[in-house]
Amino acid sequence: MKLKYIIAITAFAFSLSSCEDELALTPEQDLTEEVIFNNASTAKSAVLGLYSTAQTLEFQGSMPQLIEEYMGDNVEFVGSFPTLQELRDFTTVSTNSSIRDLWLVHYRVVTRSNKIIAKIGAVPGLTQAEKDQYVGEAKFMRALAYLQLTNLFAQPFQVSGGTNLGVPLVLEDFTGEITYPSRATVNEVHAQIKKDLTEAAAALPPTHPDGVGRATKGAANALLARIALYREEWADAITAARAAIAGPYARATDYTFYDKNTSEDVLAIQNSAVDNGRTGSGGWASYFSPTNVSGRGDAPFSASLTAAYNAEPADKRFALKRTGTAADGLSRVFTNKFPDAVTNSDNSPTIRITEVYLILAEALAQTSALPNAEAIGIVNYFRNRAGLLPVAPLTKQATIDAVLLERRKELAFEGFRRMDMLRYKQNLRAGNPLAAFGGQKTILPIPQREADNNKNLVPNPGF
């Protein structure tokens, strides 16, 4: 055989041996989980990842809050999104993609919290205090997610005492093995929320060493007060609210706090021009601002809310508004609680101390046979701040009503209205059984995609 053939064959055989290293390429903008939790600074970035997730449109980025406002009666939704119009019209279908995404993002918050809770303990270079704090923050965030989930996807406590279906409770870290959880009852989910918040309140410091915008002891107590209120556990609500009020907070004296960090905030998820939850679909200022200042013009005042303010037109809170073109091309009135529709830097008002005082007032009013003086004092503090004369309710019910009216006017556009109506067994719309208290379409459907992918999920009836 000629030499050259031997050489040719040898060379070729040589070339057939593989070069594994040329094929071992690694990503340049991702880190593996092992790396993330093997170092204090990357582990901290994973904790911040939880807050970054919380900024998302579908969590604290305004979509759930907007839905609460217009399924309630504070906002007239005139936007063009059919998925949001369906909710307005109480004709929602289970394939609604906005609701699907809302579910996803809430469970992202849950599972990312689970990851922190499972992994942070073994991170080298973190002090025990830091570890406790991060776990506390994750438990707070998980509780907030589950509270929003039960509010939206389950009939409220008032319908059947919380024995009805809530949402799946996922508490274990996801490591690749898919599980198909079924829905826990509202009571079971709420119990987990209270457990997480109680542990978080114990673990978290009154102020966060890294500054504003992070979960603290006060935030955990305030959220405990909120869930107790929603469950009509008045004594617990009073205890938790007082614990929160004991924190480093102070009621504002005017309404200039909306676009800045002040001691009015118990927790405001921090947004900036370069880092916020706004998407092309919406955002705080985007939904709630008219088109001429770069908003979508989707969510102006409803006639009902306007009428509530007009009963006492001097109310300074009624001045927190601007008129402009709405999405339907007509001139309408919008809130200016979220003024920056250009860069969307407004913070998400997750918990304000005003809400905590109003929780305290409501629980006190509910638990006193006679008009409760402390509750009336709280109401009159806010009325005074709004430039209104004090009131002096003469009955328990009148006191409760006074608290609820202040609650509506104070917290409008911040995402409380639907639950406040349902808690008092009010119909979200008149003349539509689907929108009445306990009506099938007062809550959101379990997303069809989830029902398809997890046969253990029982759909909500009527979708």
């Binding site: 050259k4 060379a11 390429l25 990842g49 250009v342």
Partner: protein, 995 residues
């Protein structure tokens, strides 16, 4: 890598230093007499001897002959045999003349070329003749209706829109389903290089928009396993080989100049109300429902009319080609400028190509193919963007006007003032592409050739967007830059040998390595001191500054062995081993193979080739495997994504679940074919194929309770089975008149065979990703529409009605009532061309068609939204139910179904079958007697060409265009459109001169 290259270079070096002594080596090149194009696989023998060789892909041969050999014989199926005397310099170049009775076509195949008659591969070829002078932005467009089994659908009428293309039904679920494009041996980058701007994810502009159709000589579609398995892990979606134009040896310089100009309009648009119609309708609607009627503005504006204009195209193309004994070249350039029929959409192309081949000696050759292209476009928003001209025009309330009293543009909010947007600011794309390869080829010894080929494909897409103060206070802008730089080396040894007269062998052994780096950057800012400041650097608030980079590499070894006995029995075997960086640690390498055989019955002694009935008959069969690697770069790794932020600190979030077993999907394909020539005039090719894909790559949906939406896994099996018929017929031919017909049709049935456990109401597993309306269902098509079935308006009640799952009628359907209402993939697609020539006139008409598919016009959920006051509506809604007995289109004004009427159902899923007069051309060639007087002009032709002039579709079709698949290359969302622009109807006139 380096080790291996060294080995190859050494091999070449040794080969060069070893010379032949006792015998003489004869070299040469065989080309076709009429076109000068190379002929591969021609048998070359010493007359009277037994041994011989065959020509290589480029027509070259080298033969080791005895010192006393004097005559060589050349035989080739489809050509007249020739004997040539060996000259003094041992160089023999031959031009073979075709034998009309047989197939003489040459087809490009992977790493080579073959005689179609002798090939066992199933391929379709589209020659430049069939698309010359057409207004074509992207090369995929020329495949539409031209190749059996190829389904090509434009995603939109936007200039440079991406395309949906499947070959034999495609082979994947959620991995890429597009074929591999290879231009002169260089596999092209086909990533996402542009911002979607409202188009669905991944369906921005066409990644191949800067490949110039004017440079293309032919496009060959590789279909069966015998053809595609040489491309291994990238072959299962089919391969499109693009061959660019080249010169011919020993031919005088030919110069061709072509210019055309024309206009375009949309084929159709959606219906919309005038302001008066809208106000009246709304007043009636609100009144009927007891709601107060707001004081609507009394103004009116026709938005659609204002954003649609007459598009204009100008295209200038010139090229020169020629060659001498040792050198061949082609130089070409194109300048074109097209403005689309939509306000603000323009595209300008400047591209040049240089192809060059040179013989250094009788044994040593080299060549270069190089293309440099620049495409600039004024972009517009697409589809789902309310900043897109036509989308906004359909949705904008017709009483909203674009100007205020002073004549200044106004901000109209979410559905933006698109006239103002297009008249101010900018939305530009600049793209550059460098594609080329250089090769050296050396004849080591008789029949043995070494070739080393080095190529690049560098793509850079630069986008720049700026919105003025009116539309975003302070102004807004971004720059986006995406690039993909590939280099590759391919090294092959090929061997051609004839033993004992009848045994002809050809072998190919190769090694290739390919690596590409994709980079992207996005810089976004807001707050400009003036609208006159165009650059992001002038923005006060930088919103985004991001950069990412990703790399992949592919290392391959491949081999092919062909054997032909007496031009009767054909065999071919192929094997390829690929190692890819995209797959898990446990499955980085995959091996693919194919075996094929053919029998040319017409070369048997019992076959009478002189009969009037059949002159050629070949049967082929093939079986083999190929793969698909079109998934993300690092999908097998479990990761956290950096680059998130909170409160001015960096944050990381989980981004992927690990899957170390991630591997290719593998397609096993069986094909049988019949190729024949009948009545001395009709070429017929029939193929049947059965393609089964296993280990399908799918982005498997996870329950969201895992925190993940999906992960890429190998799951499920799918089958594509079908028939293809291609007919070319010379119906009539005299000196003055000829009539040719070509027809192709491909029937494909796509069936999902298995999927991961995820059952629907009927107990069938399904997979649904990216679409609300369609899903893959076991036992059904991958693109099955699964929605609630709409019945219509009840003439008695005026309520809209739907079917429940059990077939009963309801006014309140739920999602559990969803049923299969059709599929997005057609039963068959094809094309039909008739060409007539009378004296100096030629007339050609080309129809393409698709049948049996449904399309979802999702935008109807908006324009037919009965109850909303947020946007404009279709005039169809004016036909609402008024009295008992009405067969109305829309419900009663106060029907309880008024708010659910528009919800997704089969009402928006419509028959997408169509036949379209894609092009019609009328040309006139100046007679040679006239041209001869000029002494300069060799040929002259003037022509008129119309595109999309006529569409035959279902009479009830409500949508601008049934030819649509707005999600571009996405396999699982086919035939859906939101507000995609319809195809353009155009008229062009041109002149072509040859010198």
């Amino acid at each position: 890598m380096k080790r291996k290259l060294l080995a190859f270079l050494l091999l070449g070096l040794f080969a060069i230093t070893s010379a032949m002594a006792q015998n003489k080596t004869i070299t040469g090149r065989v080309v076709g007499a009429d076109d000068g194009l190379p002929l591969p696989g021609v048998s070359v023998r010493v007359k009277g001897g037994t041994a011989g060789t065959t020509t290589g892909a480029d027509g070259n041969f080298s033969l080791n002959a005895p010192g006393n050999a004097s005559v060589l014989s050349f035989t080739y199926i489809g050509f007249v045999a020739q004997e040539v005397t060996i000259g003094a310099n041992n160089r023999v170049d031959v031009r073979l003349v075709t034998d009309a009775k047989q197939l003489s076509e040459v087809v490009v195949v992977g790493y080579g070329a073959q005689s179609r008659a002798l090939s066992t591969q199933s391929v379709s070829t589209v020659n430049s003749e069939s698309f010359k002078n057409q207004v074509v932005v992207s090369p995929q467009q020329v495949l539409q209706g031209q190749a059996a089994g190829v389904n090509m659908v434009n995603s939109s009428g936007i200039l440079g829109a991406s395309s949906f293309i499947t070959i034999r039904g495609g082979s994947s679920l959620s991995a890429g389903g597009q074929p591999l494009y290879v231009i002169d041996g260089v596999p092209l980058n086909t990533g996402n290089y542009t911002q979607e701007q409202g188009a669905p994810t991944g369906a921005g502009l066409n990644p191949l928009l800067n490949i110039n159709a004017n440079d293309i000589e032919s496009m060959t579609v590789l279909k069966d396993a015998a053809a595609v398995s040489i491309y291994g892990s990238r072959g299962s979606n089919g391969v499109v080989l693009i061959k660019t134009k080249s010169g011919a040896n020993n031919s005088a310089t030919k110069i061709n100049v072509d210019y055309y100009t024309g206009t375009s309009k949309p084929t159709d648009i959606l219906k919309y109300m005038t302001a008066d119609q809208w106000r009246n309708f709304r007043r009636e609607y609100l009144t009927a429902n007891g709601t107060a009627v707001p004081a609507y503005p009394t103004t009116s504006f026709d938005w659609a009319d204002a954003v649609i204009r007459t598009g204009i195209v100008n295209n200038f193309n010139a090229n020169a080609s020629g060659g001498d004994e040792k050198t061949r070249y082609f130089v070409g350039g194109t300048f074109s400028d097209e403005s689309g029929y939509t306000l603000g959409n323009d595209l300008e192309r400047l591209s040049g190509r240089f192809n060059f081949n040179h013989n250094i000696s009788d044994k040593l050759r080299f060549g270069v193919n190089y293309n440099l292209a620049r495409v600039n476009s004024d972009r517009i928003g697409a589809e789902n963007s309310t900043y897109a001209p036509l989308t906004a025009a359909y949705l904008q309330l017709p009483y909203v006007v674009p100007y205020d009293a002073a004549g200044n543009f106004v901000n109209t909010g979410f559905v933006q003032n698109v006239i103002g947007l297009e008249e101010t600011g900018f939305n530009k794309l600049n793209s550059v592409r460098n594609t080329g390869n250089a090769y050296g080829e050396f004849d080591i010894t008789s029949g043995l050739t070494f070739k080393t080929d080095w190529g690049i494909d560098n793509v850079l897409f630069d986008e720049k967007y700026r919105e003025v103060d009116v539309f975003t206070p302070g102004g807004y802008g971004y720059i986006s830059r995406r690039g993909d730089n590939k280099w590759l080396t391919q090294n092959t040894l090929s061997y051609n040998k004839i033993f004992g007269q009848k045994h002809s062998f050809s072998g190919l052994l190769g090694y290739s390595f390919e690596k590409a780096r994709y980079t992207s950057g996005l810089f976004e800012g807001q707050g400009f001191a003036s609208d006159d400041l165009p650059n992001i650097g002038s923005a006060s608030t930088p919103l985004t500054a991001s950069e990412t980079a990703q790399e992949w590499a592919l290392e391959s070894q491949f081999a092919r062995l062909g054997y032909t006995y007496d031009d009767k029995y054909l065999f071919e075997g192929t094997v390829r081993r690929d190692g890819s960086s995209r797959f898990g640690q446990n499955n980085k390498y995959g091996t693919f193979y194919a075996l094929s055989g053919g029998w040319i019955l017409s070369n048997e002694s019992f076959f009478n080739k002189d009969s009037k009935f059949a002159q050629f008959l070949k049967l082929t069969a093939s079986y083999g495997t190929s793969g698909n690697d079109q998934i993300g770069y690092y999908d097998y790794l479990g990761t956290f994504a950096a680059g998130e932020a909170y409160n001015d600190a960096s944050a990381s979030i989980p981004s992927r679940v690990a899957n170390p077993n991630l591997s290719w999907e593998e397609t096993a394909q069986f094909d049988i074919g019949l190729t024949t020539r009948l009545f001395n005039a009709v070429d017929l090719q029939v193929n049947f194929y059965n393609k089964e894909t296993s280990g399908l790559l799918a982005s498997v949906p996870y329950p969201y309770t895992t925190g993940f939406a999906s992960a890429t896994q190998n799951v499920g099996e799918m089958r594509n089975r079908g028939w293809e018929f291609t007919i070319g017929s010379q119906n009539f031919k005299t000196t003055n008149f000829s009539w040719n017909t070509s027809f192709n049709i491909g029937f494909n049935k796509n069936t999902v065979l298995s999927l991961p456990e995820n059952k629907d109401e009927n107990g069938r597993n399904f997979l649904q990703i990216g679409s609300t309306a369609q899903r893959a269902i076991v036992g059904e098509s991958r693109n099955t529409f699964y929605v609630i079935k709409y019945k219509g308006i009840n003439p008695a009640t005026g309520d809209a009605e739907w079917f429940k799952k059990d077939g009963s009628v309801t006014t309140t359907p739920v999602q559990a009532d969803r049923v299969i209402v059709g599929k997005a993939d057609p039963d068959f697609t094809g094309g039909f061309t008739n060409t007539f020539r009378y004296k100096s006139f030629d007339l050609s008409a080309f129809f393409n068609f698709a049948y049996g598919n449904k399309v979802l016009i999702d935008g109807l959920r908006f324009t037919e939204n009965f109850g909303t006051g947020s946007y404009n509506k279709s005039t169809d809604l004016l036909n609402y139910w008024k009295a008992a007995g009405d067969n109305a289109f829309a419900p009663r004004l106060n029907s309880p179904t008024r708010l659910t009427y528009h919800q997704l159902s089969s009402n928006q899923v419509q028959d997408g079958s169509y036949a379209r007069l894609k092009t019609v051309t009328l040309g006139y060639n100046l007679p040679e007697s006239v041209l001869a007087k000029s002494k300069v002009i060799r040929s002259a032709r003037i022509y008129a060409l119309g595109q999309n002039l006529l569409t035959i579709q279902n009479k009830d079709f409500r949508g601008p265009d049934p030819e649509v698949s707005a999600n571009g290359a996405n396999n699982l969302v086919m035939g859906e459109s939101f507000f995609a622009l319809p195809q353009a109807k155009s008229w062009t006139f041109g002149i072509n001169l040859g010198f």
